[in-house]
């Protein structure tokens, strides 16, 4: 090089070589670098092309979109007319037909709630508002009527007062503290009176629409509610289980380990059947718990155990020094856990965590075992119509496509989260 004469330490810094070989050069290097590589490329391209052309032939070019009955569809390609005919049932199940706008808007409300909470800037008190409003709208639309019992109001007052008193002890002024104290006192006294029976079983009725019971719910709202609320409750529950499993207190540790191992040791289906068939046997006669709610609780318990194990992996990956540094500063256990440990542990486990979420989104379809009409089950039921018998491929492909949209979105979100949360912290 001409720089040879320049003494060491004063050489100019060179730019790396630029790749200027273009598309052909790229192909030669990556697809046809050797005989075997070239043959593999050709074989794979031909195979993919053959499969794709056959599929498109069936799904697009010879497809029937307009047939009025199943028999008109026969012989040709895909019978998408079946989906056109049945999509309302597949999406919303047995929900009263003329009221289908309600589950539609419920789904939109839930989607809006999920999209909003995906944004990191919302991860504060806003999250509570989003989920409060979103859930209220969703269930008001689905049920049509909501009765809020007095005890719930009292409980919320007690909780807000209690949390406020503890968390804002050092920051709040006297007026604010008195408000918390008053709230907590009213809530506590009210709850006691309610339990003793002095306060009546009053409830606030919000009833703008006709009541639709959960046994009529079906389709996509059912799948979304089971998955969304299943995971929303299972996540904090799983975090607590994971922390409990690492606790120094033998009783708490034992309970958590026992629960996790017990739940992981049985199939979800058996848990669902237990919740649906066996639980009512143990309840005092006269009390009933909604079947949908029982399935929901079973999903939460099951998902919680799995999430706990994923999060435990994250907790174990943290160096001991992080715990010691937090301890040495005088942080209390909750402060250490919330400010130092969990933010780091959860970051580490985003990929396996979302993997678990995706798995559970699909596992909600197992509720069909106990006769709940989730999305896959309503798709299944659409095949029962004798007028349209014989097109399972179309229906399952359609269901698979909808599931794919949800799961792929979660997968992409996982990717985004990883990048977003590791900004700046990467070496």
């Amino acid at each position: 090089m001409s720089d040879d004469a320049v003494p060491v330490g004063e050489r100019r810094q060179l730019a790396p070589p630029v790749d200027d070989s273009g598309a052909l050069g790229w192909m030669r290097r990556h697809l046809f670098s050797s005989w075997s590589n070239g043959i593999t490329t050709v074989v794979l391209v031909v195979a993919i092309g053959w499969i794709l052309s056959n599929f498109l032939e069936w799904a697009v070019f010879t497809a029937n979109l307009t047939a009025a009955t199943g028999s008109e569809c026969r012989g040709g390609g895909a019978c998408w007319a079946l989906i056109r005919e049945k999509y309302r049932y597949i999406f919303f199940g047995s929900f009263p037909y003329e009221q289908h706008w309600r589950p539609l808007f419920a789904v939109i409300a839930m989607l809006a709630m999920l999209v909003l909470s995906a944004d990191r800037r919302m991860w504060n008190w806003r999250l509570l508002v989003i989920w409060g409003v979103g859930s209220f709208v969703t269930f008001l639309l689905m049920f049509g009527q909501i009765h809020i019992p007095l005890s719930l109001f009292l409980f919320v007052a007690l909780a807000v007062g209690g949390i406020g008193m503890n968390l804002r002890k050092a920051i709040a002024n006297t007026g604010e503290m008195n408000t918390y104290r008053a709230l907590a006192a009213v809530g506590l006294v009210g709850l006691v009176l309610r339990i003793v029976g002095i306060l009546p079983a009053w409830s606030l009725a919000i009833a703008p629409l006709s009541y639709v019971e959960t046994s009529l719910w079906g389709g996509i709202p059912v799948t979304m509610i089971l998955a969304t609320y299943g995971l929303a409750f299972a996540f904090p529950y799983g975090v607590l289980l994971a922390l409990g499993r690492r606790s120094n207190l033998p009783l708490i540790k034992g309970l958590c380990v026992g629960f996790i191992e017990l739940i992981r040791g049985v199939p979800l289906i058996s848990l669902l059947i237990m919740a649906s068939v066996m639980l009512p046997l143990f309840l005092p006669s006269g009390t009933t718990i909604d079947k949908f709610l029982r399935a929901q609780v079973a999903v939460i318990l099951f998902a919680g155990a799995y999430i706990a194990e994923v999060i435990r992996g994250g907790l174990q990956s943290l160096p001991k020094g992080q715990f010691e540094a937090a301890d040495a500063m005088g942080l209390s256990y909750p402060q250490k856990t919330l400010l130092i440990i969990l933010p780091q542990a959860l970051r580490v486990v985003i990929p396996p965590l979302i993997n678990t979420f995706i798995g559970f989104f699909k596992d909600t379809s197992l509720v069909l075992i106990i006769g709940i009409f989730d999305f896959l089950n309503t798709a299944n039921q659409a095949l029962v119509d004798p007028n349209w018998a014989g097109f399972p491929g179309e229906v399952y492909l359609f269901a698979a496509f909808i599931y794919f949209i949800f799961c792929f979105s979660m997968s992409r979100y996982s990717k985004y989260l990883e990048v977003e949360l590791n900004k700046g912290t990467r070496r």
Binding site: P319, G321, E324, A325, S332
Partner: protein
């Protein structure tokens, strides 16, 4: 240096007292009958071969390790299993680790303000002012908004010192603060520690930096097999080691 060595600490109150402290790791007797008085403003360097219990000793002082027998009294509070007691002591005792242990998910500034805001309930603005003045003191204010992973080892350790100082501790514990550093970064950390020592902080340092010991220590303690074998003023300690084990150890680390 002669003036320092002559400093009379006999009338000064003790801030740390260890009375017959014993500790075992399983069957291994890691601290055996340790007695130690640390006066206010005293700087102590603890050295000894690896596994001699020196890190365990200072980690017992802020209860990162639990001792099994004897008493440890820090600033008038006797260490016990009472969480309130432990947290009170930890507020008064700052600690710097060999591996820095900064929180990688927080910016430098957030690392510094975390404990003052959450433990001492200092208003955020005030905590940030204190943090910035300390970052100035360790000479890296321009790094305040970066993350620990973006800093060099020496810078990270200086941040760790500033973080411990943010709580305005009475006592600072250093657990081999320069052992994990590249050689060219040792000096920048030692300079900060020397400055801190000159300002009168009570310091316990586990270190093999004998230059540092000579420059600031009031007392050098040599530990081996869980015992305090020998302790003396640095001049005497290095010039006239009494115990055979001390001589052997000094011979090994000073042979260059």
């Amino acid at each position: 240096m002669a003036a320092k060595a002559a400093r009379d600490l006999s009338n000064v109150a003790s801030v740390i007292e260890l009375r017959s402290v014993n500790k075992w790791f399983g069957q291994f007797h890691v601290l055996s009958d340790i007695n130690l008085d640390v006066k206010e403003g005293e700087k102590i360097v603890i050295c000894g071969p690896s596994g001699s219990g020196k890190s365990t000793l200072i980690r017992c002082i802020n209860r990162l390790e639990e001792h099994q027998a004897g008493d440890i009294i820090v600033d008038g509070v006797t260490l016990s299993n009472d969480v309130k007691n432990i947290e009170a002591i930890r507020r008064e005792v700052g600690m710097v680790f060999q591996s820095f242990n900064l929180f990688p998910h927080l910016t430098i500034l957030d690392n510094l303000t975390l404990a003052p805001i959450w433990v001492k309930k200092t208003p955020k603005k005030e905590a940030e002012e204190i943090a910035m003045s300390l970052l100035n003191r360790v000479r890296i204010p321009e790094q305040a908004l970066k993350y620990p992973g973006q800093l060099s080892g020496g810078q990270q350790q200086r941040v760790a010192i500033a973080r411990a100082l943010c709580m305005r501790p009475k006592i600072m514990l250093f657990d081999e603060p320069t052992s994990a550093l590249d050689p060219e970064m040792v000096k920048e950390v030692l300079d900060v520690m020397i400055e801190l020592a000159r300002e009168g902080m009570t310091m316990l340092c586990v270190t093999h930096e004998m230059g540092f010991a000579r420059a600031v220590a009031d007392r050098v303690i040599f530990m081996d097999r869980g015992e305090i074998v020998e302790q003396n003023e640095p001049e005497e300690f290095f010039a006239n080691p009494q115990n055979e084990r001390t001589k052997l150890f000094l011979g090994q680390i000073l042979h260059h």
